[in-house]
């Protein structure tokens, strides 16, 4: 049995292995724990502010008191406009890439464009929004201009997640449909899309969470620091939750200390809950999958 006895070399390798494993564990924790502590701080210092009244009333007294209702409503408007534009476009793009696109230069350029669209700084998206939607299409600073800017910015999120869920549908499903004489579009509409619709929904939730948090792209395209009324249509300016956090924490003097924490906590809760729902949904789907 001597060949199974650990030699000095084996023991040294084992020791080193444990040491390295511990080191990487510590590195992982050092990445995660500070953020959790910070989030805990936000929750601890902000929770006293949040109440139904806070969520449902207007800011008063130069934004040093009152609630965040118009900012919440404005964020809903912006998300709505962004979704209406980017979801159909993103899903179409994903269908093209997953079901039609041949391996050629065009497809490679599309993929590269998607990566770049996701990588362009948010402030450059803002400049684009000003140049294209506010000035060239003459929408002015409005919900429409800001929503469209957000739509362009979050388009890659929809495309990438939709493409993934389309590609998860087994090729055999398509082949079965084609062999019955269905056209390519009939196959997509009746076989591929129904089998991936929940995956697409996951991506849309993820996009909503991104849209809610973006600040720079809406600063100059349609969001305002303070408005005493709610927007009535897409032509109006609006307040937004993310910009409101920036405003009350940097632009307004004499804000009571807890108020911005309340705004930050509301924003981060919204984003994290949306993400958690999306992740939970994805896991549930993975467990339920029939193939």
């Amino acid at each position: 049995m001597s060949s199974f006895r650990a030699t000095e070399l084996d023991r040294r390798n084992q020791r080193r292995e444990r040491w390295v494993r511990g080191l990487f564990l510590v590195m992982t924790l050092m990445l995660i724990l500070p953020v959790l502590i910070i989030l805990g701080t936000l929750a601890w210092r902000g929770h006293s502010v949040i109440s139904l009244d806070f969520l449902l009333s207007f800011p008063t007294n130069g934004m040093t008191e009152g609630g965040i209702f118009p900012a919440l409503v404005g964020t809903l408007w912006l998300v709505g406009v962004a979704l209406v534009v980017s979801v159909p476009m993103g899903v179409a793009a994903a269908i093209y890439l997953s079901e039609y696109a041949p391996e050629n230069l065009l497809t490679r350029s599309i993929n590269l464009a998607i990566i770049n669209l996701a990588g362009v700084p948010s402030i450059v998206h803002a400049l684009f929004g000003v140049g294209a939607f506010v000035l060239f299409f003459n929408f002015g600073t409005s919900i429409l201009a800001a929503g469209l800017t957000l739509a362009v910015m979050t388009l890659p999120v929809v495309i990438v997640s939709t493409r993934e869920s389309l590609q998860a549908v087994p090729q055999a499903f398509r082949e079965a449909s084609w062999s019955l004489g269905a056209t390519r579009w009939q196959t997509i509409r009746r076989i591929v899309l129904p089998n991936s619709v929940s995956g697409i929904l996951t991506g849309v939730i993820l996009e909503v969470s991104r849209t809610v948090g973006e600040t720079a792209p809406i600063m100059f395209t349609g969001a305002a620091f303070f408005l005493p009324f709610l927007p009535l249509g897409v032509g109006d300016q609006t307040m937004a939750l993310s910009l409101h956090l920036f405003t009350v924490s940097t632009q307004v003097p004499n804000v009571p200390e807890a108020l911005p924490f309340g705004v930050a906590l509301t924003l981060i809760s919204l984003v994290l809950i949306l993400n958690a729902v999306s992740i939970a949904f994805r896991m549930y789907l993975r467990g339920k999958k029939k193939w």
Binding site: E17, G119, T215, L243
Partner: protein, 310 residues
């Protein structure tokens, strides 16, 4: 896609060109338009930003001054000075420090999650990292302003906490989850058969990682780092709020700086459309676009190189 369904060609006699055929054509056209929308938008972004700034950047802006002068005085009359050196150094120093924080930790975390962690622990860690990546940048900026700022003042006994250090740490924490996710994907792309072959030769887990997994995932890891750099470089709100936002050539991490992105965010609202200042801000936008475009291109080349070798 399989060969027989190329779509364009029709079999004589078998195809009736009925309504379903037309729907198929229309649908193909529509999704094609969706498909090229990404290209249309990326080109449109360049055109619309360039339309406002390129003329100024080429003919009016003194590039020598922009690259060498730290004086950013866009509103001084009659002779505004557009020196971008302080802004460039500001962006570079904050991004550099962020990468010092983020690169080792995110690669370490990726190795732990991808290679050491198993089962439930791995799933939980992945979800946690994904959630951390979702925190909006304005919230990070707020954290820099209200949590990290007093911490730096207390810890190092300095008068101001809104510095390179603050913005760098914030940006590092912000970029790390994304880099971790991409790096872990790169490790996952290494075939298990490589690991099994090395383990069959008696290698320990760490030996496998160091001598087999990391070398084969090298390009993917480089791509992860590049995308992290791109993200740090282009980050706006967090840097605007945490860096102190003062035009300044820094001499230590405890100095306040101003970044290129933050300058646009802070000043665009107060400039008159078509003024020199306004065009100068768009010129900075062109610079940002070109640099991030290059970084993304390099990352793509790195990943493609990895695929080609297999």
């Amino acid at each position: 896609m399989s060969e027989f369904n190329r779509g364009r060609r029709t079999v004589p006699g078998a195809d009736t060109l009925g309504s379903s055929w037309w729907w198929d054509r229309i649908a193909q056209g529509v999704v094609f338009l969706g498909g090229i929308s990404a290209i249309v938008f990326i080109v449109a972004i360049f055109i619309f930003v360039a339309q406002q700034g390129l003329g100024f950047a080429i003919f009016e802006l003194d590039k020598g001054v922009f690259l060498t002068s730290p004086e950013w005085r866009p509103t001084t009359e009659p002779e505004p000075v557009f020196g971008g050196l302080a802004l460039i150094v500001g962006t570079a120093s904050v991004t550099g420090l962020a990468m010092l924080v983020a690169v080792p930790f995110s690669l370490g975390a990726a190795i732990f999650i991808g290679e050491f962690a198993t089962g439930r622990a791995r799933e939980y860690l992945k979800v946690l990292v994904e959630l951390l990546a979702a925190i909006p940048s304005v919230v990070w900026g707020f954290i820099g302003l209200t949590v990290v700022n007093p911490l730096i003042i207390d810890l190092f006994n300095v008068p101001v906490g809104l510095t390179i250090l603050n913005a760098g740490v914030i940006l590092g924490l912000m970029a790390a989850p994304i880099m971790t996710t991409i790096a872990e994907d790169a490790l996952k792309a290494v075939p298990d058969s490589y690991r099994e072959a090395a383990e069959a030769l008696g290698a320990t887990r760490w030996q496998v990682i160091r001598q087999v997994v990391l070398p084969s995932a090298k390009n993917g890891l480089v791509a992860a780092i590049l995308l992290g750099v791109g993200r740090g470089f282009g980050e706006t709100m967090a840097v605007l709020m945490a860096s102190g936002h003062s035009v300044n050539l820094p001499t230590s991490p405890f100095d306040s700086v101003r970044a290129l992105t933050a300058t646009i965010a802070a000043e665009l609202g107060e400039t008159a459309r078509g003024s020199e200042h306004y065009k100068a801000l768009f010129s900075i936008g062109i610079l940002l676009f070109l640099v991030t475009f290059t970084i993304n291109l390099l990352a793509d080349v790195a990943v493609r190189g990895r695929r080609k070798r297999r």
